[in-house]
Symmetry: C2
């Protein structure tokens, strides 16, 4: 064995051991959201903070730096799309970024975000932004400090965005989303002017929780989420997390008077989970076995939730079962159900928004968090700014902060720079879907037959297995032959919504 190979093995061993701590930390967080006793929050923050410090120390250790330094110029690093090249180059970039952050800042941020989430839960429940404000001020201050420590050319927000969408620039993302907005607004207006009203009330009938859970489990398993390697639990804010190569956990929430929230939420998180489960287990903890970017991650959840789960053919397969399980749907024709689940209308809550207006929710958050980080907006003025933007973009004003600025967990968890990846995911999803169909042929008859295997395997091969061997931009171009664009999403929306609303 050459010296380089030995060094490479040492590098992989070092990073894989850090992944044992990172995944343990993920369990602490999962447990905090799903199981933690009411009084146990403070100590949980200390546990998370200590682990974050240890992870940071390992991730910035001179031992790791030396290994990366020695390998960066070696043959093993020459092709960044090979496994070893991907591992070395991504670790090098991450090491440089992480090394700029003092342990003190990492620990402060971890503590602020762990307690921030706990304060947010209470503030949202009490509908009291003032209760959350000091925690958010601390987080924004620390995130700005983080951005300054990392450094940036154009704007502080760039430094934060890069954590979630490596290589992406604020300006470029803003341009793509502006293109999307320009095409979306007239579409939403045209729908608003249509005389057609899908019977959305049928989704607000009685849907017993136990039946929703059983149906959600069945559908998520059938599209490919492996429950031998994962779980489904209940949380207020649904999420997907990975606690090991064979331990992906998704969550959802149930409302016994609403069908869509839980069902499409479960499909969405299952889409994330199928991505995690499709990563190369043998490279677990290494960049070659990690997700590419949050935009690509979101493309997988959105693809299953919207392009598959809201298609007519999906329901040609599942609707008879739904009608059997839910007496409330017995008298509802498939076409009515299909129109209802694809209903488009301005609304207040992002996670319950329809496929079209959803992106307007994202653009609002993207603009607000840029303003917070770049110093153009004070936290104290955030509720007012939020409400003004909702009025401006969607024509509605939240009656309470719980329905407005307090609705999302992200900022309380320090996830600033994260929101735009949701819309990037929507764009990638449409582009990937069309690329899959170009290769596999018409997917709809497969869905109608309950066969989701070909699409899942195509995604496994083309999107999941590569890990971080290409950046999101590179992967998108490699797989679709096109640059990132809003056009295919608009095309999908028009193809679906034109017949429903007779546009």
């Amino acid at each position: 064995m050459s010296n380089t190979t030995e060094l490479y093995d040492q590098l992989c061993d070092h990073v894989s051991k850090t992944a044992l701590l990172t995944s343990t930390s993920a369990l602490l967080e999962w447990d905090q959201h799903t199981k933690l006793p009411a009084a146990a929050g403070a100590y949980r923050s200390e546990q998370l903070t200590f682990l974050a410090g240890e992870i940071h120390r390992r991730s910035t250790s001179s031992e790791l730096g030396d290994l990366i330094g020695q390998l960066a110029q070696s043959d093993l690093a020459s092709d960044p799309t090979s496994v070893s090249g991907c591992v070395i180059s991504r670790l090098e970039k991450k090491f440089k970024r992480t090394s700029k952050l003092p342990v003190r800042l990492v620990e402060e941020l971890t503590r602020a975000c762990s307690t921030g989430q706990q304060v947010w839960v209470a503030a949202r429940k009490e509908n009291d932004f003032s209760e959350f404000r000091p925690a958010l001020e601390t987080i924004v201050r620390l995130k700005r400090e983080q951005a300054d420590a990392i450094g940036y050319d154009d704007c502080a927000y760039d430094a934060l965005l890069d954590e979630f969408e490596p290589g992406a620039k604020t300006k470029e993302v803003a341009d793509v989303l502006e293109g999307l907005r320009v095409d979306l607004v007239p579409l939403v207006e045209a729908i608003g002017a249509s005389s057609i009203e899908p019977p959305v009330d049928i989704l607000h009938r009685s849907f017993p929780v136990a039946d929703q859970e059983a149906f959600g489990r069945r559908a998520s398993a059938q599209i490919g989420f492996d429950y031998q390697r994962g779980r489904l639990d209940v949380t207020h804010h649904p999420f997907c997390t990975e606690i090991g190569p064979d331990d992906c956990r998704i969550t959802t929430r149930y409302d016994d008077q609403f069908f869509s929230g839980s069902f499409f939420g479960t499909l969405h998180e299952a889409g994330h989970g199928i991505y995690e489960q499709g990563l190369a287990s043998e490279y677990y903890g290494l960049p070659a076995g990690q997700y590419c970017s949050l935009g690509i991650h979101e493309s997988q959840s959105r693809l299953w939730e919207n392009l598959v789960g809201r298609s007519k053919s999906f329901w040609q397969h599942f609707y008879p079962d739904a009608q059997q399980r839910f007496a409330s749907l017995a008298d509802v024709p498939l076409d009515d159900f299909y129109a209802a689940i694809n209903h488009v209308a301005p609304s207040l809550i992002r996670v319950e928004a329809d496929e079209a207006t959803y992106n307007l929710h994202i653009i609002i958050r993207f603009q607000l968090e840029q303003a917070l980080i770049n110093g153009d907006l004070a936290v104290a003025d955030l509720p007012e700014a939020w409400n003004a933007k909702y009025q401006d973009s969607l024509g509605i004003t939240p009656p309470t902060d719980a329905d407005g600025v307090l609705q999302d967990v992200h900022w309380s968890a320090g996830l600033i720079g994260y929101f735009p990846t949701y819309s990037l995911g929507n764009l990638y999803a449409s582009q990937f879907y069309d690329a899959a169909a170009a290769e596999l042929g018409d997917l709809e008859p497969m869905f109608a037959a309950g066969d989701f295997g070909p699409l899942k395997e195509w995604l496994n091969t083309n999107i999941h297995a590569p890990g971080q061997r290409w950046s999101s931009t590179e992967l998108g171009e490699k797989v679709t032959g096109e640059a990132l664009s809003h056009e295919r999403l608009i095309k999908h929306l028009k193809e679906k919504l034109t017949p429903i609303y007779q546009l």
Copy 2:
């Protein structure tokens, strides 16, 4: 601040940080037993192994050794029953013990025990000891290696017992348990010869799981388990674990055709939990805030399960509610129910054994594990030896290994030297109960009125709050004025069982 005080603060800080890892490791284990996806076991073992190595490194670091060395001769250590004296002296003992164990052995043991438990679950399910045998052979080999590394005067088993019951000697424990056995056997024989047959069939009627759970939660909360600082979940083998100063988790299992298993199991684990919740939170992670010994721990679970939970007065309070919840009990008079839950008869499964024969189950395990560790018994011969002892002591032979040698998780988890503490707990429980009654007056009228506060507070003050400031032997003598003895347990059993069986 004196130099000594600064050193002491550094010591406490060091050990408290280690406790962040230990408690995180407890979450990994809790999750493994309650929530882990089927395929995720191997990686969980790696996570636990890595943390065990880190904990071991911290617990044997020269930094810690230096602090202890400097403080051991200081004024702060002069009184071992003061908080600082307890902290320093217990840490000194633990440091010496732990430092004798190579990291390699600690990691091997952790891995062997984590996978051992997973193999045991499968082997028990398949009723196949041969599937478990190699894992147990590894564990026994490593535990003997551990005993040799720690060192001992009389026998290797002493070195293992000391981990669970600090200061106890195999010979002394054996003597006390032999005294117990000598008095128990004729009592059990007399009961066997009695013509009275409590109507145990009433406990095997229909008891819907949801109602059992609600009733168990109510009773455990009422005796003092704080659900704001804890949880109750379902596992195959019930346990209690502590994941932080305000995060104590207990588990139980339900059989919808059996009342006692879950109910008394829940009370038992709640008793453990009340002890954990009664420790001094301000010393969390330090010996002054940790449980004294497993014998003392078990005294708390047994006290609530048997001396309180199986008393007539307890049921004078709870039985009307039980009859309301469970239609199966509507026609059963309280006296019949009381006799049934106190039924004594030889049986196969330890955790379902009655209060009297339970100790015979323990003595069998105590003898077998001594033989395994001292080299007098091969793992291959264990099932046969197990069955012979059951025939000899209890007059019954397990029909399958699942009902025999495979029934307990302990050995698969490396818990060798643990079993005798269950019987020590029974002895301490009776002695503590009598000491509490001597101070508080007759407890039974309080139970009949649903008032468990005085007993709980007495235990909080006298047993829980001291942490490790006294050894179990010292604490027992301090609180009861008596040496450890089997006599009060026998007295309790006779007082209860004589009228039931008309002995």
